[in-house]
């Protein structure tokens, strides 16, 4: 690999200062970033590791109710820690990559990267979570801007994510077995004030909410309510693993399965 500088700050403030340098890049679990750097698809001159920042670790009940997850918390820890309080989110975290990847990869890293086939953007959007950074709080609805694009500004660091806990929820992931990302994934979450449905792996613009399904499920929370609905294949991903039409079909099927499993 090419040469670069690795720094390991112990506070968010020090990390933010280190990220002020030109070409500096935050490193969380590195399970996507390190392979990307090996291929020179990313070439930061300085990596700022967030793993040693105590205040970004762990899972806690937040002041407003629900769950606060530190951004540098690994998938394996989330899977363990929220199994009782938010089982659908625990299952989502437990299905990312493989066990060794889950021991390094983090929620903050996944959200900041916003891979169009990643699981966490889907779980975060379906939950109506709030992404806290060192500068502000961003609603999930405003956070995911497009393909690998988020509302984060240059050098802004995700510090934690606040999840309200739904009364029922389920994540259905149709595995792409080679990459272990979702070929398509759908999360359905039912809250007192309405149902949220988020879809990953399908759109060329990244994770999105399926509002038509949400409206139908608000009237009648059953798989039958979404049986007649379909998403348009326009703008959906089409590759060797599945055509846009196939992905559109999967969105409907997985939504029904998620509702049935709630």
């Amino acid at each position: 690999m090419y040469d670069f500088e690795l720094v390991k700050p112990s506070s968010v403030a020090d990390a933010a200062a280190a990220l002020g340098d030109e070409d500096a890049q935050a490193l969380s679990g590195g399970q996507t970033l390190i392979p990307t750097m090996k291929q020179r698809l990313a070439m930061p001159s300085k990596l700022v590791s967030l793993a040693g920042i105590e205040e970004m670790q762990g899972v806690a009940v937040s002041a407003v109710g629900g769950i606060r997850i530190g951004a540098a918390t690994t998938h394996a820890t989330v899977a363990k820690e929220v199994a009782g309080s938010y089982p659908a989110l625990a299952a989502l975290a437990d299905g990312i990559g493989d066990p060794a990847v889950r021991n390094r990869g983090t929620i903050g890293g996944s959200l900041a990267n916003n891979d169009p086939s990643a699981c966490y953007p889907c779980g975060t959007l379906a939950s109506g979570a709030t992404i806290n950074t060192n500068k502000r709080a961003i609603a999930a609805d405003d956070f995911f801007v497009g393909l690998f694009e988020t509302a984060l500004e240059e050098g802004e660091i995700i510090t934690s994510v606040d999840f309200p806990t739904p009364s029922a929820a389920n994540y259905q992931k149709f595995d792409q077995p080679a990459s272990r990302f979702a070929l398509v994934g759908v999360m359905v979450a039912k809250f007192d004030d309405g149902v949220r449905v988020a879809v990953t792996g399908a759109s060329e613009s990244g994770v999105f909410r399926w509002s038509e399904a949400e409206a139908a499920l608000n009237g009648n929370f059953s798989a039958d309510a979404v049986a007649g609905l379909s998403v348009s294949a326009d703008g959906l991903i089409s590759d060797m693993h599945g055509s846009a039409d196939y992905r559109a079909h999967l969105v409907g099927v997985l939504t029904m399965r998620a509702v049935a499993a709630c």
Binding site: L6, I34, P99, V101, R104
Partner: protein
């Protein structure tokens, strides 16, 4: 260059590494612990799995500088104190859980991580846990049998 210190297989070690030095390079090239293999170098194949602070990780997907101060266990640390094969290693030999042997260090380290958390895994749980360890010889069948036998022996 930065100084890193860690405990590897119970022994305190230290060395000079660059930012880009991967943990697997530090283990293999500087410590000469060449039992940990580099297969794909992309985080897919699992031949480089080691334990860092008791958790299985892919050593090609972590920088040596990130393991500063950590407790690392490699395949060389899996043998018994007298040099004989550890329970999992012996089970791999007894059940022919390897052919070319390239993936074996990672398989044994993943198996050890699984059995630590789940001492009596079902066949399905073993197969699912090995998602990130690829073997091109065995068809996995004897690897699964070996891990079942190790589970019984422990």
């Amino acid at each position: 260059m930065a100084q890193v210190s860690m405990t590897v297989n119970g022994k305190a070690v230290s060395g000079e590494v660059e930012g880009r030095t991967l943990l697997v390079q530090f283990l293999r090239d500087q410590l000469r612990l060449t039992g940990t293999h580099v297969g794909c170098d992309t985080g897919q194949c699992g031949a480089c799995v080691v334990h860092v602070d008791g958790e299985a990780v892919k050593a090609c997907n972590m920088f040596a500088g990130e393991a500063d101060g950590a407790e690392v266990t490699t395949i060389e640390g899996m043998a018994n104190a007298d040099g004989s094969l550890g329970t999992i290693q012996q089970a791999f030999q007894d059940h022919h859980g390897l052919q070319c042997g390239f993936c074996t260090p990672g398989m044994v380290m993943s198996a050890a991580a699984l059995l630590k958390d789940n001492p009596n895994p079902s066949e399905a749980e073993i197969r699912e846990y090995l998602e990130g360890n690829i073997c091109r010889c065995t068809g996995y069948h004897n690897i699964v049998k070996a891990i079942q036998a190790a589970s019984d022996a422990q």
